[in-house]
Subunit: 178 residues, 4 copies
Amino acid sequence: MLELVVKQGVHATPMSQLARESNVAIGTIYHHFKNKGQIIEEIYKMIFKDLGTVVTANLEEEGNYKDTFKTGWLNVYNYFVTNPLAFKFSEWVGVPPIISQSVVDETKPHYENIKMFFLRGIKEQKIRNIHLRLIMQITYGNVISAVRLKDKNELPMNKKQIEDAIESAWDAIKYMGD
Amino acid sequence: MLELVVKQGVHATPMSQLARESNVAIGTIYHHFKNKGQIIEEIYKMIFKDLGTVVTANLEEEGNYKDTFKTGWLNVYNYFVTNPLAFKFSEWVGVPPIISQSVVDETKPHYENIKMFFLRGIKEQKIRNIHLRLIMQITYGNVISAVRLKDKNELPMNKKQIEDAIESAWDAIKYMGD
Amino acid sequence: MLELVVKQGVHATPMSQLARESNVAIGTIYHHFKNKGQIIEEIYKMIFKDLGTVVTANLEEEGNYKDTFKTGWLNVYNYFVTNPLAFKFSEWVGVPPIISQSVVDETKPHYENIKMFFLRGIKEQKIRNIHLRLIMQITYGNVISAVRLKDKNELPMNKKQIEDAIESAWDAIKYMGD
Amino acid sequence: MLELVVKQGVHATPMSQLARESNVAIGTIYHHFKNKGQIIEEIYKMIFKDLGTVVTANLEEEGNYKDTFKTGWLNVYNYFVTNPLAFKFSEWVGVPPIISQSVVDETKPHYENIKMFFLRGIKEQKIRNIHLRLIMQITYGNVISAVRLKDKNELPMNKKQIEDAIESAWDAIKYMGD
DNA sequence: TATGAATGAGCCTTCATTCAT
DNA sequence: CATGAATGAAGGCTCATTCAT
């Protein structure tokens, strides 16, 4: 059911349409979710749990630091590009207090190892010593910028452009020496 | 009136409340705007025209390229931080087909000289030779990342942190040599 | 509008029907009342304010005590018999916490002089010296019993029967001597 | 099952909650009752059959007429005071066409001997010669008045007050001589 | 006989928009 | 130009009832 919901998008979708497109009755939806807000929360948690898993899926922590970074970047990029609805949802949900802080917090555990990865990078002088929150937000923002260009068809995002975007993201945080 | 509207925020604000807070009657609003969509369009145009003006307000085109970049970055940052409602509005409006492409296009002229600035940077080998759209999106994204951290109170964004963010943004696009 | 509402009855009436029967749009109703509960409260207050006025309308406080009592009894009886919807409403509203205590309290001032009347009766040894609340509840209950018989067509409530009912109500509380 | 239902109250209780509180599945309820209306009817019949039994339970028809009356009055009073849910139910059900006349008629046999008791009272000039329906309604109303005061905690209904209420009820119908 | 997921009509309410004054 | 009462489509949600297991 959740899968279906994500595929259809919740956006400004009325429950009636949601029901119709999910081929279930409205009442059935309320059998599984307390209210519309909970559906959104559930999708939010699903997407950002997924994302957390996807990012670190095929990373070789032992390998070259920059290469690992690149792989992680691509993982997020590909996740959103191949799941445009998930992307739109994540963009949409970021706005007013649609999602309560407590729900956001619930997804945080899934990002622990990403945090660790960046902390290690700082310690090993692979990336610069600035506030972790800043590093993560900037990096995430960079991926999203690329996804957005692709999603809105403003750029084809071919191999070269993806490479450029990654290089930008890396240069934005890489350790610059003394 | 527009000013008022922006100050109050149109967010998910119903027209009735908009009228009440603006101290005008609902009917009066409909004398000035065709419908709610038009109000949003008008605000959109106002904000992004403002922004276009603000960015290049105090730039010395003749000075050091990087310094000019930094000033521009700060201009945008400060505009949004001092106008949180404008920031929230811009975040919100970026999502579904709220704003038609034609309205977006109307604001483009205000960004011509910014485009020129980056093109000059590429030509003069100050910044790297990647797609202009990518450069602009990444740079805008970097500012927004900083604003968001400040806006959500996730980081105090003191001088050091702002400096770090700018440095990141610059390194993300600066020319790296042969 | 209130008048209309009472005439139609609110009972289990959905707002949609209420609107249709009042010949106004649903939205219009919500222009005047905050919600359905408020409509009910308003009717409640109207009816019981009316009742308070009606009871003491044509009483000659100076006349014979029992006659005054009889007139008051008849006033209530006639009010409900000629306003069957008001009667049904008053019966219906007495059930679960439909009406909040605060609303009930708002109507109490209208019954001050009735209270005074009974207190005087006790002092002047016209009616027996039992708890005022008991006297009033029993007396009100007696009128309601008569109204109910009439309303449900279980009895024609002709002159004789009305006279009997009043006599009962009076004997139930009249002072019985030492 | 019925017992359970009464204990829980059907009031405005949705079937789902009813099922939960009765520790049975919704479907199970529909094996025992045709629909919600039937549950209410069944409870109605149960309560008013109970009441009919209770009233005459410990009456000594041979004893003093007034004492018998008092005992009956107390029987009803105690039944409702010790079964507040039954009381609330009886109040609630008295209103709109919740209960069909045919169901009401079904409970009438249980009140035959009460009717007989009053008829005997009239014949023996213990109580006044007014319409039986009036006598019964007034008397029932008087008990209910007392119960209501107790139920709503408006009066403690101590021994004295109960005695007063009974005396009132009796005086309301007792034969007053020629 | 027991279960409870599924159903959908219908309820209350919101809010963008109109129009007579 | 200004007003705000009136409008009604549409949304979120409840709950009595059904039916496959």
